[in-house]
């Protein structure tokens, strides 16, 4: 059974946390918020707290809910997770008048996100859609890995074996991220690291997609030179064990 607290952290920082990436990559999403300067906070009791800040076409996420125009409070992780899977309707506690933003902007934005994260084979035939979908998925997965390593019981076991340093994860010629391990606490950064202790590189965005979709096995891909690993490989091994848990939570 999925751990609801871990799932809440994934939903907060990997799913909602990928909205800034969606707005960066997808014109439809960007256009939707091009006139909005507003912040939307999510507060989960005994769980994660974060704010999405929209600033006329761009978006970023900060931890905490101290400064937000709209605040959505959830009494349990289960209720927050219910909002993400569409079974719970959020009611703003602060800034009730701005409910229209929720209905007219935020909900459509999450619909766009769902479209790219739950892409059909037909959707993916469009190259631009494919690229956006894969890059947003890359963002979600790398962030989810850090959350699982910090909150999921099995993920924490993997993290306990990771030595301090940066694991670079990249799609060659396209996208980079890295996960920093410090005292077995993981943090995901969605940019190229200045230095790294180990790396895992996918040779193309197509290969990355196939790996994410489970169509290609990473171990076989290493032998074929499609996935390259190096440096402190024990870090990569353990990060990969956490990666295996991502589909458990996000399937």
């Amino acid at each position: 059974m999925k751990d609801q607290k871990t799932l809440a952290y994934i939903n907060m920082f990997a799913i909602l946390g990928s909205i800034p990436k969606l707005c960066k990559e997808c014109k439809e999403a960007r256009d939707l918020i091009k006139d909005d300067k507003i912040s939307l906070g999510f507060s989960v009791k005994n769980g994660p707290q974060a704010t999405l800040v929209f600033d006329k076409g761009s978006c970023y996420m900060v931890e905490g809910v101290k400064k937000c125009n709209i605040k959505l409070c959830f009494s349990t992780c289960e209720k927050f997770n219910g909002m993400i899977d569409g079974t719970v309707t959020p009611i703003p506690r602060k800034g009730l008048l701005k409910v229209m933003f929720l209905l007219k902007k935020f909900m459509p934005l999450t619909d766009i996100l769902s479209k790219y994260l739950r892409a059909t084979e037909e959707d993916l035939k469009d190259k631009e859609f494919f690229n956006i979908s894969t890059l947003v998925m890359f963002n979600v997965i790398t962030e989810a890995m850090a959350q699982i390593g910090n909150h999921d019981r099995v993920g924490k076991a993997s993290a306990s074996y990771i030595t301090d340093g940066n694991v670079k994860i990249e799609i060659t010629g396209s996208e980079s991220a890295y996960i920093t391990a410090k005292d077995h606490i993981l943090t995901a950064y969605h940019t190229t690291p200045d230095t790294f202790t180990s790396y895992m590189s996918f040779e193309s965005i197509e290969l990355a997609r196939d790996l994410f979709d489970g169509k290609v096995n990473a171990v076989a891909a290493v032998g074929l030179g499609q996935v390259r690993v190096g440096g402190m490989i024990s870090m990569v091994d353990n990060v990969n064990r956490i990666l295996d848990r991502v589909s458990y939570y996000l399937a």
Partner: protein
């Protein structure tokens, strides 16, 4: 400058393999688990082997320091072992009744291994480590097992960790993981789980991957032996990797204590497929009552090979000569590194040494150096201990050091 190997055929074969075999080559001999970095530097498939050499499918020859990950202790295709095996094969191998070679082999092990009163045969190291744990639990009627972090005891679920694919919590919930050489932690575990610990299982020293190998602290084994005896816990030595390369009488004998159960495989029959669990008299009845067997476990050819192998190892005093050869190589490699300003660390016993260039904590420099050695015909791997075999000559060691020297010069030029 030496010729750089080409691996065109290996690549083609791998592409074929990946179509019909999960991951192409699975396990420790596969490019992923084998840490082949970069992949282009390494061969994938062998054509033949003899003595200290292996030839890949592209015709490249390597001086091999992995020795099939341990089994090759006398040299590939050792004539004495092969002759004994061939003679037995003419008579029969896998037959309805076992051959009396099984008795001969068990008697030989009892006479050879200091702590052995009996021997039980299987095929792989994992078979006998699993048997050892089952026997410990059967004898003590307890569940918990102490491991030392960095261990490798096979691939059965009990040996794996909770985050490994296919493992469930119940497989590993009785495992206690402690730091190697931390006897205080051992004492605390025995106190915390009083009357619950069935076994302590360990390799004779810490030869885990990705880090320098570490010998036992002074009296560590004696203290572990004592606390096991006092608490009625079975002490299991996993000598699958180190067996007969440290001490012909067992690696517990090397460190001056006696295991209750000791596991052998790899070097036991110079590549013929057999493993053995040896143990103390007090556990024999327990083992007799266990349901544990396999289709090929009583085959006669590997027994005949094992008898010839152990007899030859004793005759040539193999551990001594393997350690001497390893020491020569170690000194040569360290000096070659120093010449270019590199701090090459060679840890563990010389007969199964572990390599690491200490100048770069990310190990990328080390991986570059290993790759340059392999491309020139010395088969090292990045993050596993290596193995010496008895057929290795001074000329082989000289050639290895020359290649290592050239590999150091290549990485020095690349980074200067």
């Amino acid at each position: 400058m030496r010729k750089i190997n080409d691996y065109t055929k290996s690549r083609d074969f791998f592409a074929r393999a990946a179509n019909v075999i999960p991951s192409g080559i699975y396990g420790h001999q596969g490019p992923a688990e084998g840490c082949y970095v970069p992949i282009e530097a390494f061969p994938f498939f062998s054509e033949k082997a003899k003595g200290s050499y292996i030839w890949d499918v592209d015709g490249n020859r390597f001086i091999d320091y992995m020795c099939a990950y341990g089994p090759n202790i006398l040299g590939y295709n050792d004539p004495d072992v092969d002759e004994a095996a061939a003679k037995q094969r003419e008579k029969g191998d896998c037959i309805t009744f076992p051959s009396t070679k099984m008795i001969e082999f068990a008697e030989l092990l009892v006479d050879t291994v200091a702590s052995a009163d009996w021997a039980f045969f299987a095929k792989n190291g994992n078979d006998v480590t699993t048997m050892a744990i089952m026997a410990s639990r059967a004898y003590t009627k307890r569940k918990k097992i102490i491991f030392f972090k960095g261990y490798y005891h096979g691939v059965s679920p009990w040996t794996q960790k909770i985050d490994y694919s296919g493992i469930i919590e119940e497989d590993v919930c009785n495992n206690i993981y402690l730091d190697w050489n931390d006897f205080n932690a051992v004492e605390e575990a025995f106190e915390k789980y009083k009357g619950q610990i069935a076994a302590v299982i360990s390799q004779p020293y810490m030869h885990g991957n990705f880090k320098d190998n570490e010998m036992p602290a002074k009296d560590f084994w004696q203290k572990v032996r004592k606390i096991c005896t006092e608490n009625g816990t079975v002490l299991v030595v996993d000598d699958v990797r180190a067996g007969f390369r440290m001490d012909i009488a067992g690696s517990d004998h090397y460190f001056g204590f006696e295991a209750d159960l000791i596991c052998f495989c790899k070097a036991l029959a110079n590549g013929y497929n057999v493993s053995a669990l040896c143990g103390k008299e007090f556990l024999k009845s327990t083992v007799s009552g266990m349901s544990y067997t396999g289709s090929y476990w009583l085959s006669a050819v590997p027994f005949a090979a094992g008898i010839a192998c152990i007899n030859k190892l004793k005759k040539i005093d193999a551990p001594k000569i393997l350690i001497e050869k390893g020491a020569k190589l170690k000194n040569g490699l360290i000096e070659a590194g120093k010449k270019y300003g590199y701090d090459l660390r060679v840890t563990g016993l010389e007969s199964l040494f572990y390599l690491r260039i200490a100048d770069d904590p990310t190990l990328m420099l080390h991986q570059e150096w290993i790759a340059e050695c392999v491309k020139r015909g010395v088969f090292f791997t990045n993050h596993h201990n290596h193995f010496i075999n008895a057929s290795l000559t001074d000329e082989d060691i000289k050639e290895t050091v020359e290649i290592a020297d050239e590999a150091f010069s290549v990485i020095k030029n690349r980074h200067s």
